[in-house]
Symmetry: C2
Subunit: 338 residues, 2 copies
DNA sequence: ACCCTTTATGGAATCGATTCCATTCTATAT
DNA sequence: ATATAGAATGGAATCGATTCCATAAAGGGT
């Protein structure tokens, strides 16, 4: 405990202490080439005693591999992101990779910036969960020329792990219709988000048309991803009720929106599901415990994360230059809100 | 688009293209030393055109700084972890640092392993959120000799950001007592977790003793962190009711446990809070939307993450060798479960 | 005209690993 | 005995940056 600002040990020092060359130490470290048992033991002993850890920077500089994966997500600390990263981590850690995490905090500009930052850190691959897919972003990705997987949003020219948002929205809407609901409202998010904003809305519209139901423009509301905005979206819908016809069903593009909507309905005294049915998407933890429990679709984000990780690893380790797209279907969860 | 497996550009190439030396390019890159306007412009132009990004490995090898912070958390994708990391990221990204994330997945052994892994990656500092604080772990941390902050659990000899678990538990228990509850049960977690397992239990016991209330051993149950185990813990408590006296209050050491408990009470027909009051800790997202909404304590994890990040940065950038301990108090949230 | 400071630039060493290549020493086969 | 392959080892180049140092030109003061 005497040495305060103790030097960083290097392979050279280990070599000297074990009376071998750096080459030999390196061989021991990497289990490569010929090393006599005696030499190996001496080296291992010194390493053990000193607590020497080789510099990954030096190693990476030489080998061009870092065993680090760059992950860009829109917002840290959301359920979806957490599950995704968790799934990725399960696969990556198994293969000795670690995750360098960056969050764009919903600023599309940052996404592009981080891509090049990650490249400069020589990550072995990148996984991006984008929200807004701009031409600029696509161009930025093209320029990377390294193993890459996009999650959640379909990005042309690269590997993707996406959900079938169109179909999921169709199913959740159809559920309402089959339940006998006819006056169905829709709470969505801005169309800058291709997957959630555009596709899920399209799915709703498609299902409504298929069943020849009247789509009321004034009951199509744009919200954001928060519970509170779901609440106020529902509020706005009820304000726009004219001629006594109130909605008897609401398809919300996310669970949190749905939960906000339910909250508002409760306060105004409308009974869910007796008078009005609600569906969401995402299988948020919340969805199971709100009153009434929410009918939703589990997107199985962990699985998506795992898939993305596997595809990326295939590109990295087997140098496969392919681009593969996996479409995940989700699992319907029927609960009482219907 | 012709060059398929295009070479990685180096500072040497940029130098040649701009007709200057590597030294000059480096000066432009780092805004240091003297560079004529003309030379600077030429360099910048080449960088722009080629999309050159300098190798961080080479840079870090030379400068001994990586601008990467290693973060070890028990489990990715939980609410608490998410919030913590989010808070850290807010501060770090502001100063140009990124987070290398590793998850011990609740294996104490891995925690130690990851510490040395992170050191080998030459991170500039480490933040650890431990669950089980073993002597081995403490020894491992001592050996690191680098900027370090522990979150959530008090670890001797290093900087800490901790919650006042003892006091929080006292408060939540006292709330039940002041509400007039006398037969209070307790659902905790294993004592290998010092903060949650030991301190929160101690707080409960202290408050009970202070008010001279009878502590029934058979109503002190050990659960884990899941909702479902909270459910079965409550079940076990009710099985142990003898002589007609049923609990009229339960202090659960986490919100998820509390939510599981409430779930079970609902199913057995007991009314919360009319017949039995429940309190939790953690201000889980869920807590606001369950029925009835849960009285809990917000630990403000983002703030904890921010604090930890700030302390670490102080150690890194100002080379302050201090150890600082911040105790966060949490914010009581009164809701209907009481 | 001379000295000194400021500006501008590049050569070369350095960081800590890996890896190619050459060398030496054994052991086995002929 | 001798050629030959395998085992063991180390020297030195290399990866891509930064940075110390030397050098040179330009301007300023006396």
């Amino acid at each position: 405990m005497s040495e305060a600002d103790e030097l960083m040990l290097t392979i050279k020092e280990i070599a000297d202490m074990a009376n071998v060359s750096r080459t030999t130490v390196s061989r021991v470290l990497n289990d490569s080439g010929y090393v006599s048992i005696k030499a190996r033991e001496r080296v291992l002993k010194v390493i053990e005693e000193t607590g020497y850890v080789p510099s990954q920077h030096a190693k990476s500089l030489r080998t061009k591999k870092s065993k680090v994966i760059g992950v860009v997500i829109p917002k840290l600390g959301t359920e979806t992101s957490g599950r995704l990263v968790n799934g990725m981590n399960e696969v990556f850690s198994q293969y000795g990779y670690q995750i360098l995490l960056t969050s764009s905090n919903l600023a599309p500009q940052k996404e592009i910036e981080y891509l090049s930052l990650l490249k400069s850190r020589q990550v072995d691959g990148i996984i991006l969960t984008a929200t807004n897919v701009s031409d600029q972003l696509i161009a930025g990705i093209r320029q990377l020329r390294m193993p890459f997987v996009a999650v959640g949003q379909n990005i042309p020219g690269v590997s993707n792990v996406v959900y079938d948002d169109l179909n999921a929205a169709k199913i959740m809407t159809r559920l309402l219709i089959e339940r006998g609901r006819k006056n169905i409202a829709f709470i969505g998010v801005p169309e800058s988000d291709q997957a959630v904003g555009v596709l899920r809305k399209q799915g709703f519209l498609d299902s409504m048309k298929e069943h020849c139901l009247n789509i009321r423009k004034e009951w199509i509301i744009e919200s954001d991803f928060s519970i509170s905005s779901g609440y106020s979206a529902m509020e706005r819908i009820m304000e726009r009720v004219v001629g006594g016809v109130i909605p008897d069903g609401v398809f919300c593009v996310t669970d949190r929106i749905a939960i906000g909507a339910i909250q508002h309905l409760k306060e105004t005294g409308l009974k869910v599901p007796q008078q009005i049915s609600i569906t969401g998407i995402g299988a948020s933890d919340l969805s199971k415990y709100v009153e009434p429990p929410l009918t939703t679709m589990d997107y199985e984000n962990e699985k998506a994360g795992q898939e993305a990780a596997k595809i990326l690893l295939a590109q990295i380790e087997r140098n496969e230059d392919f681009q593969k797209t996996v479409i995940l279907n989700g699992r319907l969860i029927r609960r009482d809100s219907l």
